[in-house]
Subunit: 142 residues, 2 copies
């Protein structure tokens, strides 16, 4: 893996840490604050522009608080100042439901700006149960 | 719109024409035949590599044949030799079901190669009913 790929993977991991910690400040730091930024939460219509995206995270974090989430099957694609990551989002819903692992599929696009990879696009969508590699069912992030 | 944006919009429109016409050859021409290419059909696990993607289109086209589909709310993002398009996919299911318009949300990534914008990533996911602008409910592609 190149240094640039490592930096993109780090930015992607930071996104899932901010999500799991329900940390709006960390989430704000890693997004590009631009009208061009867009976000598709699973099953939601797409939100365009950082302000709408920020409001959505605020509402989600207030509603559900911290939870365990970690990326799996991470794949990085680099081209100049744009990079995209595909990954499965492993979500532990045992706090609210029974001990069930929900998985979603994500496409995350990052742009290099000011020496940092900033998230500019997030598209997450539900996956059918049991469609991942199976590894995530046993591996814990901690 | 720049000339490059126009070319990306044209490539994106060509994708929906190939899809609607169930045209595997046209679909093959517009995709990058690479292990890096990836495709998420609505509700499916992600397929990686052109060969798996090609097989999926072949199966989809054989199964459902031609149908009316057209993009709406098209937004283009350009950065060097990478571009991505977000759009709503309007799908007319009146042939199989009642006269219902189904909408999905797409993120389509293209790479400029050999003077052409080739699709390298397609992520489509179901949208809740009635979440689009509403315009698509009245506008026909023909």
């Amino acid at each position: 893996m190149s240094e640039a790929s490592d930096a993109v993977i780090t930015a992607n991991a930071r996104f899932y840490r901010a999500l799991g910690n329900a940390d709006l400040e960390a989430m704000s730091l890693l997004w590009l604050h631009s009208d061009e930024s867009a976000c598709v939460h699973p099953g939601w219509p797409m939100l365009e522009g950082w302000e709408l995206i920020r409001q959505s995270w605020e509402a989600i974090f207030e509603n559900q608080g911290p939870f365990r989430v970690w990326p799996g099957e991470v794949s990085v694609h680099l081209d100049g100042t744009t990079a995209w990551v595909t990954c499965i989002e492993n979500i532990d819903t045992s706090r609210e439901l029974t001990d069930v692992l929900v998985q979603t599929q994500a496409t995350n696009i990052f742009r290099m700006t000011g020496g940092e990879w900033k998230m500019i696009h997030h598209h997450a969508s539900p996956l059918p149960t049991g469609s991942g590699s199976g590894e995530e069912r046993r591996i814990s992030p901690n």
